[in-house]
């Protein structure tokens, strides 16, 4: 599988570290913290996920990927989403 990095271009998946679902948002207080840390949907289909380009530009990126087909629909820098 190849992951498109917004800076480096298409790279072999071995260059990346997988972090998982990008959709959980850190809650401001204690409420919802357990869910934020531990609970995941295990989606079948398109999901947004965090990947770290460890052996390239060393940036966190957010990739849209279909977990059933491995089709990749696009990627952006994770910080672009966070800002």
């Amino acid at each position: 599988m190849r992951i498109p990095c917004p800076y480096c271009g298409e790279r072999d998946v071995q260059e990346f570290v997988y972090r998982g679902d990008a959709s959980p948002v850190r809650p401001l207080g204690e409420d919802g913290f357990y869910e934020y840390v531990y609970l995941r949907r295990n989606s079948a289909g398109v999901m947004r996920e965090h990947w770290y380009h460890a052996q390239g530009c060393r940036n966190w990126i957010e990739v849209q990927r279909n977990t059933q087909t491995h089709e990749i629909l696009g990627s952006v820098f994770a910080r672009r989403v966070a800002l």
């Binding site: 800076y7 480096c8 790279r11 052996q55 390239g56 530009c57 940036n59």
Partner: protein, 169 residues
């Protein structure tokens, strides 16, 4: 050394990482250094300074004519714009040139090194033989420069020698 392939180690250079500060933009780096620091994985050289793109807001600054206080001067010029960290002793730079240079590197790199995907002016931060490398192409000979952590120099040199054994020229 076989014809069509020349491998040497750059002996004298100054190398530093340059990382953009949070609220600065990369045009300010260019203005401070009088080298248009590239926003993509390419390199630009001017005034004996080469700026090599390694990530968004990240560069390697390279000079082959380093003065004693080279990186401190660089940091002064970039004050408030970018952080500078001297890496001159931390990296080795291999120069790999000749008609077989691309074939040799392609045996180790997962990325396409043939034009138009990669050519003179291109930069790639990637991995060869499990060793993190920064590759940039100098000219169409082709000549490549490969920078890596100095402690991996022996292992990388071994890989180069092994991978180039049956190259035909």
């Amino acid at each position: 050394m076989a014809k069509g392939l020349e491998i040497s180690e750059c002996q004298r250079f100054g190398l530093a990482t340059v990382m953009l500060r949070k609220n600065a933009n990369h045009a300010a780096v260019g203005a401070a250094l009088q080298v248009a620091a590239p926003a993509d994985p390419t390199w630009v050289a001017s005034n004996e300074l080469t700026m090599i793109g390694t990530g968004p807001g990240m560069w390697l600054a390279l000079t082959e004519t380093p003065s004693q206080h080279w990186s401190a001067t660089l940091a002064e010029r970039l004050a408030g714009v970018a952080s500078v960290s001297d890496q001159s002793g931390g990296y080795v730079i291999f120069r790999i040139a000749g008609s077989s240079a691309r074939t040799l590197l392609q045996r180790g790199a997962f990325i396409d090194l043939t034009p138009p995907a990669f050519g003179a002016g291109s930069v790639a931060t990637t991995v060869i033989a499990h060793i993190g490398v920064i590759i940039w192409q100098i000219d169409d000979v082709p000549t490549f420069h490969v920078a890596l952590f100095r402690s991996f120099a022996g292992s990388f040199r071994e890989w180069l020698d092994t991978a180039s054994v049956n190259l035909t020229f």
